[in-house]
Symmetry: C2
Subunit: 410 residues, 2 copies
């Protein structure tokens, strides 16, 4: 395993983790732009643009993009988050040149008006589909409620109205501003030759425009600490999401925060599991740590029959109060570490997993972290560092959102 | 990469693929029993028994099973198919002894009556949940329609009635007969010491009873070549499943069959994709090759608006006729090979993927096959071998099932 990095004259960064024993290679282009970088009038443009990237370039129709990926047997996709838009492909090593060529090409999309208009319907349909999923809708609304006056509260998909109002030129303006070379990192992991990769990316992306790029509103959030209820009589179960403040992505406390969340709310063997899921009080219950630039949050959630929702919310409050007061136990830390260790190692066994980890670690920390670095950091978590997390970020300070048949939850 | 195998005096087989560069290990217990081994009066018992295996032993309560897996950070699960019941866990290498101990222990379940009665409700609920999924229901009914008078037509879940009627003693009888040492293979892949593994399994499973075990009705199936319609007015879209005969799991033609199915019906860039999905005629369309002991089948399916279903069925028929007459093209073979190669390599990058592949290959072929063996076999596929498949198994001889609002499809 060997790490390399480099920067093109126009500012585009390149990262590579070379493992000669791998049999495939994963490539990703990380664009540091997401829903938090959107103004209200273009809400959803980042995600819509991610779709448009696959709709063709001066050299390729949408059909060609699809066919060219297929020809090399690529497993490819993209995702948009609050902070990043990532385009990636996993391939056999011999197809590295084609994969770089396609990915680099589509990242300069034509944004043709007719494609834009057609894709608009797809996006609006996707928004409708998600809105029909109460679990997702509760999560999205909880974020909006918690991140009030904070750009992390922006919806990734936008609304049907914001998408309908969006013009091709607004998207083009956003693209020109955010998809500049300095804001993009090309990452490869697996079996490949570093110089070859640098060469290919240099040729394909060396002419991309450069320009200033930034991010507004990088600041902590703590949430209003209130309860909001959204009544939906068509929804069968009550979906409750609770958000508490947590360390940011570059905090040295992030591994302790992850360990804490797992002990409280992993999908098996955690406090919430034993209190809510195992006895059948809730259909699902979990807690997890989400890290962002400048802030972080703990998300806890459960779904259950409406008449049990208030009691269950009380149980979660009691669990969180109890942990805040008395901390978790040494055995819980040990169990959480075993789980995390196993997950980190297994995710790192695939080039795809390493490509994502290397890209994210550079984006947030500006540094390379190996699987061993991560394992050691989790191994170093103690009862004291978990205590530190809660001293700085009280986990019982929760902002709550309930979505379902209830008009009120207490 | 090194392959080892051994057999305990009681007949239990052990397989291991050791890769010192891996950082985790996956262990699986393959029980060669599935829905095809059930008589009608115990329909669903195999899958129900898979659930009961996690409900405890003389040494462990259900809670202990869960806790003990959690303590070592295991990612564990099980599945039941027509022919196999597989229990598995992925762990860090240091936890090999605990993982073997837990898996071996739970494979001698107590089958307590009170657990049995409680779990019965879970199974019946699961059946209801699946029946509510029209795609799954269409597939299950299509199998029943195609495999008429053939044990592969048995439903894996059984019916609410068959499960309700099942007694704990019937399950125990099935367990005693099918979970004998000769019918079980313990497989490990990843970073572990072979002698240590043999020792652990020997100690844990050496006393398991031995006994004769077989499988009835291992014979080819060709389907009635008819159309059946199941009208469900609550279902919005029409779900159409077509089944054609194909090579068995031990046939030298299986790689060509896989390649053919991918060219016709992969989820992107295939004939069905371009004919049905890309132009928006169907929401989804695919074709895949399923291999069993003694026979195989091609499954093609699509779902769409009811008023387009008959036309779409005509299009699939035309595509299949056309390929049957004129074969696929050299370019399609090339593209399918790239895709399959990429998938085989990527699946083989994880111990979990290798454990499954090694176990399945031994179950069906009685031989070890490395990733390279598989890649070479796919690489050797030619237009002629694809032609051979269709000469022996005409892909246009389809048995069709439609489930949805329509009362008739033509």
């Amino acid at each position: 395993m060997q790490f390399q990095h480099s920067t093109l004259p126009n500012g585009l960064r390149l990262l590579g983790e070379i493992s000669p024993s791998a049999r495939s290679v994963a490539i990703g282009f990380f664009v540091r732009t997401g829903s938090r970088d959107e103004s209200p009038e273009v809400s959803g443009v980042t995600h819509f643009l991610e779709h448009m990237v696959f709709k063709g370039t001066p050299r390729r129709s949408a059909l060609d993009v699809n066919r060219d990926f297929d020809r090399i047997g690529a497993s490819y996709n993209a995702f948009t988050s609050e902070e990043n838009t990532v385009f990636y492909a996993a391939i056999l090593p011999e197809y590295l040149p084609q994969a770089v060529d396609i990915l680099a090409d589509i990242l300069r999309p034509s944004l043709r008006v007719e494609d834009f208009d057609m894709e608009k319907n797809v996006i609006i349909e996707e928004i409708g589909m998600y809105e029909d999923q109460p679990g997702w809708s509760a999560y999205d609304n909880a974020k909006k409620h918690y991140f009030v006056n904070h750009p992390l509260g922006n919806s990734i998909l936008g609304t049907a109205d914001s998408i309908r109002a969006l013009t091709r030129d607004q998207m083009h303006e956003y693209f020109s501003r955010r998809y500049v070379a300095q804001n993009i990192t090309a990452v490869a992991a697996g079996n490949f030759n570093w110089d070859h990769f640098v060469n290919l990316v240099g040729k394909a992306c060396g002419q991309w425009p450069t320009g200033p790029v930034g991010r507004q509103g990088v600041k902590p959030a703590t949430g209003p600490n209130t309860i909001q209820t959204i009544a939906k009589d068509k929804v069968v179960q009550e979906h409750v999401v609770m958000i508490a403040p947590a360390p940011a992505a570059d905090s040295p406390l992030r591994h302790a925060a992850d360990t804490l969340a797992l002990a409280i709310g992993d999908d098996s063997g955690s406090r919430l599991y034993w209190e809510l899921v195992d006895p059948g009080r809730a259909e699902s219950a979990d807690m997890s740590f989400h890290e962002y630039e400048g802030t972080g949050s703990f998300y806890a959630s459960f779904s259950c029959e409406p008449d049990q929702a208030s009691e269950n919310l009380g149980i979660v409050r009691r669990v969180l109060n109890d942990v805040q007061k008395k901390n978790i136990t040494a055995e819980e830390i040990q169990q959480a570490k075993s789980k995390i260790g196993s997950r980190v190692v297994r995710a790192g066994e695939r080039p795809m997993g390493r490509m994502q980890a290397v890209g994210m670690s550079w984006t947030y920390l500006g540094q390379y972290r190996s699987v061993d670095d991560e394992l050691q950091a989790f191994d170093a978590v103690t009862l004291d560092s978990v205590r530190d997390v809660m001293n700085q970020f009280p986990i019982d300070r929760i902002t709550t959102l309930a979505l379902g048949p209830l008009t009120k939850i207490v």
